[in-house]
Symmetry: D2
Amino acid sequence: MKKHPFKIYPNTPPPLAFAVSRRVRFEEVDSLGIVWHGRYPSYFEDVREALGDKFGIGYLDFFREKVAAPLRQLHFDYLKPLRLRENFTIKAQLHWSEAARLNLTYEIINEQGELTTSGYSIQMMVEPREQTVLMVPPPFFQAFLKRWQEQKFAG
Amino acid sequence: MKKHPFKIYPNTPPPLAFAVSRRVRFEEVDSLGIVWHGRYPSYFEDVREALGDKFGIGYLDFFREKVAAPLRQLHFDYLKPLRLRENFTIKAQLHWSEAARLNLTYEIINEQGELTTSGYSIQMMVEPREQTVLMVPPPFFQAFLKRWQEQKFAG
Amino acid sequence: MKKHPFKIYPNTPPPLAFAVSRRVRFEEVDSLGIVWHGRYPSYFEDVREALGDKFGIGYLDFFREKVAAPLRQLHFDYLKPLRLRENFTIKAQLHWSEAARLNLTYEIINEQGELTTSGYSIQMMVEPREQTVLMVPPPFFQAFLKRWQEQKFAG
Amino acid sequence: MKKHPFKIYPNTPPPLAFAVSRRVRFEEVDSLGIVWHGRYPSYFEDVREALGDKFGIGYLDFFREKVAAPLRQLHFDYLKPLRLRENFTIKAQLHWSEAARLNLTYEIINEQGELTTSGYSIQMMVEPREQTVLMVPPPFFQAFLKRWQEQKFAG
């Protein structure tokens, strides 16, 4: 539905997908009775962290390797609101790239199966202190890319 | 620097601008010592609320008129981090549109005068309960547009 | 360990208990690498909402009955920090009271089984608009007290 | 009005006071139209940071000296709600202690001059990595206590 800004090259591995379920909290709802738009970075981060943990490229993996991966772009398309105590699913896809970056797209789906919000994020890998961008991904990430290419993440 | 997605028609009034100053709070900084990316919706909202209050199109004005203006798109380009206790300025520009929407662009400037984050937001005016989009802006907003067009907001 | 300020009368029903599990999120951790103290109201609310949902006295039940239950007192004793991605359990106990109030105590337990934070909250039932305190609990809550007294919540 | 748990010894310097003004933000208000109780740690921290900056005992001072001062107790008495866009003042008093701790009381005052929330916090000074409690305050803090005792903070 929504175009993201990533280049997809032919003959590259398909995206890695993950999803988490969550319920709207009281504190997330504004005075209009809907989730405040500023809570959605947290929703996207939830699934991004979970995807990272699953595939060995989470915050703790980056920390251990002394690499940070701050966001460079973050985009939201809000289509429908979420309301108090509503259950929803946050889906993420990590798109193939051999550069020192992470390209993800997101979809939030409500209990009726409707797409309520979509979006994307771009992270660049940097040296944490000076925030200088890495030219190539660190070894642990290259090993992850190799496993991905060899389709070791089936299922 | 960053292109926004709004159409700008010739011979329309120039944007209305506003700025607020703020200091990075302890609670806004993450374990890497920089402002967590998810705090920036709050930064943008700060200046958006202040601009709305100044020109008579703030949340309380919309509430009183029984119209809501939820965000439909929100975009961030993170260029440089902000650190603990750093002072910064958040600038916003409201761009001319005769539709029932609000188009804003944002810039965050640090104490060195550097652009650290830019972005934009699109809001649609809706009936609050059903979230149905208005065809035309409500009367108070049309009156605001008229004052804008007549350049009543100089200075 | 920690004394709470509630009077416990003899021959009243024992507390109702509930617990939820959660994992420390990236956004919850401060620049010292530990959960910022200001996130704990959210942790306590998580278990309080879950306990409320389980026993039919959650936010949505109060909303439906046009009663609010804002906090009057909230207290935290921070004993040990929680760190990034740590798993923990939040336990709550609702203590018997026939007044139009809710008295809860809380305990947060880390993966090593250590008590990291304890606390309590007091809520008063009010009419939402004017915040005037109710003299007696609303009928749905009295029915809940009756079920509690009759030990219908075993297990 | 509200008793705090600190011992006040005779013939010790009077408290140091500070206040900041703030306006209720849209994001701070819940679905009942009042500030969510969990935002108040941020309000207390605002004035605590400002007081710390003024007297040279802020977060950055502690960081520089490699000492942390995490909260051990935090208490809120909520008396009246704050509503959307309401202006209010947060007042803090730092109470004299020669131990490696910080004892503060807080008051939030609305535009009508009414006390809406009061509370207190206790911080213990610790070595940041292991969180071991210091026996005595670090030298920079002892120098601060000396200036306080000599009434160098008049006005």
